[in-house]
Subunit: 447 residues, 2 copies
Amino acid sequence: MTAMSSLSTSPYKGTRDYYPEQKRVQNYIFKVWKEVSERFGYEEYGAPMLEPLEVYAAKTGQEIVGEQTYRFTDRGGREVAIRPEMTPTISRMVAGRRQEMAYPARLFSIANYMRYERPQRGREREFWQLNADIFGADGAAPEAEIIQLGAEVMKTFGAKDSMYSIKLNNRQIINAMMHDYLALDAVQAELMVRLFDRKNKISNEEFRDQAIEIFGAEAAPSGLKKIAELLVAKGIDDLPKEIADTEAVKEMKELFETLEAVGVTNTVFDITLMRGFDYYTGTVFEFFDTHPDNNRALFGGGRYDGLVGLFGAEPLSAVGIAPGLSMTELFLQTHELMPELSTATEVYIVVVGEADKAATKLAAKLRTEGVNTELDNTGRKLDKQIKTAVKKGVPYMLFIGEEDVKKEIYNFKDTKTSEEEKLSFERVVSRIKDHRRNKANQDDDLV
Amino acid sequence: MTAMSSLSTSPYKGTRDYYPEQKRVQNYIFKVWKEVSERFGYEEYGAPMLEPLEVYAAKTGQEIVGEQTYRFTDRGGREVAIRPEMTPTISRMVAGRRQEMAYPARLFSIANYMRYERPQRGREREFWQLNADIFGADGAAPEAEIIQLGAEVMKTFGAKDSMYSIKLNNRQIINAMMHDYLALDAVQAELMVRLFDRKNKISNEEFRDQAIEIFGAEAAPSGLKKIAELLVAKGIDDLPKEIADTEAVKEMKELFETLEAVGVTNTVFDITLMRGFDYYTGTVFEFFDTHPDNNRALFGGGRYDGLVGLFGAEPLSAVGIAPGLSMTELFLQTHELMPELSTATEVYIVVVGEADKAATKLAAKLRTEGVNTELDNTGRKLDKQIKTAVKKGVPYMLFIGEEDVKKEIYNFKDTKTSEEEKLSFERVVSRIKDHRRNKANQDDDLV
């Protein structure tokens, strides 16, 4: 770059600038995430954006570490990565305080991540997620709670049960399917898991061809037949004996019952659900948008009992869920659930004539009362000041001239309706506080 | 790393894990930043953690870009950097919407940054900052507003004026000092600015030696004498004629007057204040802790009118301020201003006997009422459940057994006082809401 050429105004490829109107959407989604997590007794934590690369090398999965991680060597020669997800980090943190923490530990974070992927609708290189996890709790109850938390997030956004379904599976069921039912060895099983993971993204023919390759020519006919039978008989009560008799199926049934007891009924058992990460050990699940225009996975999670132990600590069971910002935005847009969000500024002070000192004082007084007050201290003509207030969408304007200051009565204007009143300072404050209460009630209705 | 060796639980060097108790401190500081910024009519924005490297190469300053930036080449061959600061990014964003935005634009963000520095007290490689900026406003008024915003942040944290002072200078005054008063050429001037910037970190002797080197042997005696005179006569009304007659000194006096009018009086003119960034063009300032245990710069800011124009947009004036998290924490600790912060969880449900289904339902009911409710769904013995609630610092426990569910009267226990009462569901809710109101009022007293 030379000093003469001008720099680009575009953000780095696959990332987004959040101008105030987009930031308000982000803040709305973050607020719901935080409120619901705290309503379930989860405590917020934060973590570094960089981690030693080895944290991911263990269990995050080949594709993400090998192809998608933003990794580099720092000035001190350390191999580091911008976090592509939170699960290894929070496992590291819990391992670091394995003895001191109170269990079950319920933890959540709202943070950004980076993966080098092809940017597309609902998928950016930099993306934001809620991560909510329980550590140190076994069985169906914490799994049901995590899924219930996800459902409560959806409900709080205004979603009805019919707008999405929750697909459930279990890694142990997958293992029984691969090893006992399909009679695959370890290498074949891994390939088959990846193939199922891509099942919705490829054609039936492609799936079939690749399955044959995995089975080998001799075993393929019976293998394909078994897969076909499995896909027809999807229900949990309708599984072949090699799978049906496992402990994992018993657990899965218990999970369905527990979910039903807490009112989460838009669930479905889906033996083809694999989830990409290598660290899952039991239940896995995925929230899936049922709208024909956005028929796709929204977010998911599952049980990962092995991660904390990788950090030299006594092993600890764990279940987590991770809704993402972009998918949530898409869901809210598709189902027309996005609320109207406006600026937090409540009043714009328009300065008439030479009243700037008095206006500055009045602004300070309004702020002391807790009113979000923007002061036009430009010295511009009235029409320009008004235009700025309108363009910013500030709900009220307060006109301050020398006469008004003397009389202590001010012109107060509703930006939307253009209605104007002459009010005392106290009335201005109470008018704005009424407006704020109404807005908060609307938000509560939304939330 | 082999699968056998265990991974380290330490965060990446120079970064911090924010466990819930540290995250609460961070959230408290973020909350004050956001509230005060919005009270002044600033609107929140967000930006990517990565930027094209060239964004910083222009004006951020040699030391940061050359030695401290986390930079690397992405998988697509792009030179990128983890943002070391926000000013170039927000300038890029404003340039990208130069025509559409309403001016003056008041913008703020709360975000994290990385610099490869030697970690030390109050300085981490990953650090968090509030950035508040006004674009498109000239003169003393917006500068005074930005400084007033900083003072209001301090006041909201409980700081008294005596706890810190605000040092002020102006890049044009520095120019007059270097060129007209000390008769230095451009290269010498740049070296001298850097020398002044380090003045508080080096000995007087070292300063003298390096100054001589910059002046050259011949000019050094008169140059040193002039510096000495300047340092004695620090007051703005007491400057040598070459500096005193400049427009910048007039502007600086106006700024002092405007600040005084809005009640910011703990200010001092300091001609040795340089501020590191290359992009400042006018007023620069620094908030400085006056406590003997923490006698150092807290944060600063200034006017940078040239940055937006670098992105090919019509030039736009700009003033900004950037308080940091770690320095704020140190300040609050030093002055004993850090409030006690507790978990957001309000009640912990202890399940007695086999009442887990009823307890789950009651938890859902409490959450519907907006109560932050943690449910112990472990099936453990009572004492273990109670121990967890105590360790987490949850203010109330609710005991739920089968008898309680039948009678619809529950044992409600204050975790701190151990007082126990038998209450109906409605009374439990109102008791917890009272507690929340008291806590909010305490917070308001703090804030």
